[in-house]
Symmetry: C2
Subunit: 144 residues, 2 copies
DNA sequence: ACACATAGTGTAGGGTATTCACTAATGAAG
DNA sequence: CTTCATTAGTGAATACCCTACACTATGTGT
């Protein structure tokens, strides 16, 4: 069996299992996976316009509206009009949204350490390189 | 930044992008991602009872029922009573279900080759090892 | 025989996503 | 300065995934 086939299958199967393991923490924080994804995106990138979020997350603008609605209800994010374009809205984290992101980042780090315990450091570094390359390839394919 | 943190983040972000790229092929085949996942699982493992599917896919039995319902409608899978336990149902692929799996496996292989082009073979092998280990760790954590 | 556990599904409800249609605002051309 | 096409965001309708809970039918152990 080709290595590429196995790798892709492993990566594809990894995600749903991984998601399952995070379900509890998400529920505890009144979050869902897509909402968490958007939240952490804002945490890393700063305030963004809805249309930019749609592009970066590779979902429709309508889906962004729905996700942001949910985050607004729980008080993790806010909409702010774009002063340079009265049609557009910026989405930004509230203080509690930022706090929850910091908190989740810590949990994430702990979980990562635990999950990768027993894997050689060099091996881990090499894997990071490869996976990063693959993600960039994917993003390229999505643009095209 | 720790390698483990980066790797976990990359893996988490890889999945939704990856899913997006497969959306077209799935629509063309009248499938969704979770239904495809169940279908390929049967393709690789053979007929399974609903409860076993729930366990292996890490979803609730009720979710399995719903997914199988969808696959029955499109004619890709069938239910067959377990002769040794009248409560239980086996789920198995139909001929057209098997055909679609073979077809998808080919597309999958082609896509994999394309996606990993330019990545060193040894590097790829090493990554497969690492990721496989990680998936096994994950499955262990889910059982616990 | 009885209590208890297990297998699968109906019901109800929340969440993610899409498509299409619509409003408001922008921007480019005459 | 008007059209006129385009863009930003959202309402409406729809499909799907998933969960929790309740229920029926069946199996299991004492």
């Amino acid at each position: 069996m080709k290595a590429s086939t196995i790798l892709l299958r492993e990566l594809a199967e990894l995600a749903p299992l991984f998601d399952q393991l995070r379900a509890d923490g998400l529920r505890r924080r009144q979050l869902t996976l897509p909402r968490r994804r958007l939240l952490m995106f804002l945490h890393h990138e700063g305030p963004l316009r809805s249309s930019d979020l749609a592009q970066r997350l590779a979902i429709t603008p309508r889906a962004v509206t729905a996700l942001v609605d949910g985050l607004v209800v729980t008080g993790y994010a806010e909409r702010r009009p774009d002063p340079t374009d009265r049609r557009a809205m910026f989405v930004e984290l509230t203080d509690s949204g930022t706090a929850i992101c910091v908190d989740m980042q810590n949990s994430f780090d702990n979980f990562a350490s635990q999950l990768f315990a027993g894997i050689d450091t060099n091996e881990l570094d090499a894997t990071v390189q490869t996976i990063t390359t693959i993600r960039r390839n994917l993003e390229q394919l999505l643009v095209a």
